[in-house]
Symmetry: C2
Subunit: 159 residues, 2 copies
DNA sequence: GTATTACACGTTACACTATAACGTGTCGAA
DNA sequence: TTCGACACGTTATAGTGTAACGTGTAATAC
């Protein structure tokens, strides 16, 4: 996985790597990475972009799993809970985590043109958020940081 | 309006102040703050919390405006576009801006217990986001920064 | 003074997103 | 074996958001 979010990369590698990591994590932490959950992750990884729950559901259906919304939502919730995927609020969508090895609070960059989503590490952002919350005596549990704009490609060629 | 987001304050004052500011802004910038738009802002201000579009719509209906969803969504979109309100992604809700005098990129703190939303200035956060985007050659248009957790009250007394 | 254009705002109808509630099967602990 | 926890499937419904169209009004163009 590249550190440059929108850069080209070997996608088949990062997809299989994601599954391998998930398997290992499941074993280490005793998570129940059941068939439908693993399939949901595989779908997110192969799509390699933010996908809506119903889009994931379609794929799950095709693979012989349940066909009703809760099936997808529960699998996706599991993945998010365990750091294997993230929810992208702006798009009402889910994306496989591109850096699942560390528990992190990513920043998402969402291209409004091509709808690609990139996940960036940003400890510096998190530190400032901690300060903001501290000033208000607010206890942080989760954060959601999303940047909307134009990715490098679409910036040059607004097709 | 207090600088301490969750602190007590004179609400009737901040509500009427919000409307006055909106009127002035409309005149200065030639915005068309029509009756339904002004009413929507008034509703958000008087509720003094994040409200769903359908909740706003109910109030608009009661005031004699249209009763269908687009009426509310269009009015709310106008307010957001012009910095008079913000959208809170996490809650699928809208909140009147508490500091509409300056064009800003706020950070929201959302209490998961009482659902109160506080808006904080955080230039330091925005600066780090600019850096993150620059490293990815991403062009920022908007940002959404939301912190989920417990407000000072609910932290002490998890009712 | 009309014609044209832009836009606000109301409607109907629909699409998309998400959850509640319940029944069944499985598996490990008591 | 009996219980409790949980996963996962279902049906049904709730909640959120838009597309598309018609009307009125006001500013600009001719
Ligand atoms: Zn991640
Ligand atoms: Zn793009
Ligand atoms: Zn604001
Ligand atoms: Zn609270």
């Amino acid at each position: 996985m590249s550190d440059l979010p929108f850069a080209e990369h070997d996608h088949t590698h990062c997809a299989s790597g994601g599954l391998i990591h998930a398997d290992r994590l499941a074993e280490e932490k005793g998570l129940r990475l059941t068939p439908v959950r693993r399939a949901a992750l595989e779908i997110l990884l192969s799509g390699h972009r933010a996908m809506g729950a119903y889009e994931v559901l379609d794929h799950l259906k095709n693979k012989g799993f349940g066909s009703q919304p809760p099936v997808a939502y529960r699998a996706l919730d599991f993945l998010v809970e365990n750091g294997l995927a993230h929810r992208v609020q702006r798009l009402n969508a889910f994306a496989a985590c591109t850096q699942p090895s560390k528990h992190h609070r990513p920043v998402f960059m969402i291209c409004r043109d091509c709808e690609q989503v990139a996940e960036a590490e940003a400890d510096e952002v998190q530190e400032t958020l901690i300060n903001v919350a501290a000033r208000a005596d607010f206890e942080i549990e989760r954060v959601n940081v999303e940047i909307l704009g134009l990715c490098p490609s679409c910036k040059v060629d607004p097709a």
